[in-house]
Subunit: 348 residues, 2 copies
């Protein structure tokens, strides 16, 4: 399997997507093509030896070859004709945040019939918008924390006792997230969050809660689940810490937990994944609170694809790429249209 | 305002989208451009006088000018250079069903920064998948009928007493829908529905229920709501009937209902629309059951845009086009990326 890593995108997570792609280059043992989506919406074919942060921050990538979406893949455009980019079979959607996780990239790849690893449109929308994630969790019977949505024009009233945690509704990587310890800190935290979204999620902040991360995917009828990690962190992972997190390539040890909790976490993961996330490798971050498993977040495109949680990450992606969801091909037969007299237009 | 009507699409509702576009041509009193998306994913500029059903069923449209998505709009491609299609300011997404209503078209138009009337990605996904519509309705406190999801590989067991109504999960226009009166009709109805989707929705079928349709949109802080229609129908609108429905251009009378019910229906509409459907003109189909309002369906791109429910439809679209949601433009500043040592690559 030859993989094209698609990264970048117009989002607040543009830079961490670059870091993630560089991390995967180190980890994956397969032919790789790198496709950069810049913040202006152009695609570039990046030579493997240019995959360094400076190549992007200096805008040197603009000298690389520009490529374009076309039916079945990407193409290079010459003066007289276009040539397909033939170096890959499957795209890995590694565009974190907006565009990548909000359904835009999946819609583009679906529309142009390009096979890809990553969340489909519905899965993207449900995991990118934290309110919709709550809805989904409740529907499938997975516990989540209480919450409140505050819009930019709403009265700034909080329904919970402090401390609370405030998050922009549609953003990952802890960008714009604050823990608010008292009412006098509220305005500032909301101002910060509203920089990134017109709606924010407010949750009670529970101290001393255990967090466990599980990644995985479904390949046909087989589940491939990762080790369970108990992330070491401060109060919560702020952006800079998470940023470093995205560059992870060294494998971690499993959390020291009993097999009962391990099984419960894995079952919760499977319930969340369901058929909704088919085609994607996702990471679910759970809390354990009073012995109950609570879903914190679904990362439909986790940082560096959570490669560090798997023993042989190349084979995980290879297997997944061979079991991607198929879109139905529908050909109109125009059997009905001629029955509609009004659509025929005047007789001549 | 100059409008481009985008219609067609690869979906089971391809043909009714054509009928819808032809109906709007008759109704709208403004400069119109017609962009046809064929089932192969190509776009064509259709001359207004070719807007007849036969032009599409005979494939004559293939002789029309092919156009391509590009930043800010569509372009014609010549041998040496490309020319933008400049005849419109706003696109009206009139692609019913798959691609148009599932978030694909909105993602494409967002990605290429083309202003459009139509549901955004989240709104598309929530209204196209009937299961997600139920989730959303419950979350916002709007009643809906009980339901059950049956997947193609599930045991064929129904949780309700007969009669039940069976619908493909992701499809409009009553395609693949059956009323099942007894267990012996179940297999056939499921077979039909599974032709169109791997998951189906099962609901109890309630006879003699009243149905009311309301369409509208929010323009800034102002609501534009249509007349309320009590559609005359058989047991339910089957595809052929609905198909005819999509060609409607003659305005209908308001349902004869008291002002209390009228207000309740309008309030339910506003609750459903919320901020989720901003930018779209939608139609909500409600049932009234035991005096309670129950949401049946959200049509984020209703047939012929439900023009027949408004007095001056041209002005509705003109107003809406002046208040479309804006996407945030995000420019990466690369402030963080150089802090990540591992992303810099080896020093030379």
């Amino acid at each position: 399997m030859r993989l094209a890593i698609l990264f970048g995108g117009m989002s607040f997570e543009h830079e961490i997507s670059i870091v993630s792609a560089i991390a995967l280059k180190k980890v994956l043992n397969m032919p790789l093509t790198f496709i950069f989506l810049d913040a202006d919406g152009s695609f570039y074919l990046i030579p493997a030896n240019s995959m360094k942060s400076n190549h992007f921050s200096s805008k040197s990538y603009k000298k690389d070859e520009k490529i374009y979406l076309t039916k079945g893949g990407f193409e290079k455009r010459g003066l007289f004709k276009s040539k397909p980019v033939k170096d890959f079979d499957t795209v890995l959607n590694l565009v974190h945040g907006g565009q990548g996780e909000d359904g835009t990239v999946s819609a583009l790849l679906d529309f142009y019939s390009i096979p890809y690893i990553g969340p489909r449109k519905e899965a993207s929308v449900l995991s990118f918008n934290k309110w919709l994630t709550k809805m989904y969790a409740k529907e499938i019977g997975v516990e989540c924390l209480d919450y409140q949505i505050v819009s930019i024009n709403d009265k700034r009233e909080i329904n919970f006792d402090y401390p609370v945690i405030i998050k922009p509704l549609r953003l990952g990587s802890s960008i714009g997230v604050s823990i608010v310890k008292s009412a006098k800190e509220l305005d500032f935290a909301l101002d910060v969050a509203f920089e990134f979204d017109d709606e924010v999620l407010v949750e009670p902040f529970v101290e001393g809660i255990s967090e466990y991360n599980v990644a995985g995917c479904k390949v046909g009828d087989e589940w491939i689940l990762s080790r369970i990690e108990a992330p070491q962190k401060k109060e919560f992972l702020d952006f800079e810490q998470k940023y470093l997190d995205f560059s992870r390539t060294e494998s971690v040890n499993s959390a020291k937990i009993g097999s009962e909790l391990e099984n419960s976490l894995k079952n919760s993961f499977k319930t969340v994944y369901g058929s909704m996330f088919e085609g994607a490798l996702i990471r679910c971050d759970f809390f354990v609170k009073d012995g109950k498993i609570v879903l914190n977040e679904i990362n439909p495109i986790p940082g560096s694809m959570a490669n560090y949680l798997f023993d042989d990450f190349t084979s995980v992606l290879t297997k997944l790429s061979s079991h991607l969801p198929k879109n139905r091909v529908i050909k109109p037969d125009y059997a009905y249209i001629n029955q509609v007299q009004s659509a025929k237009g005047p007789k001549v």
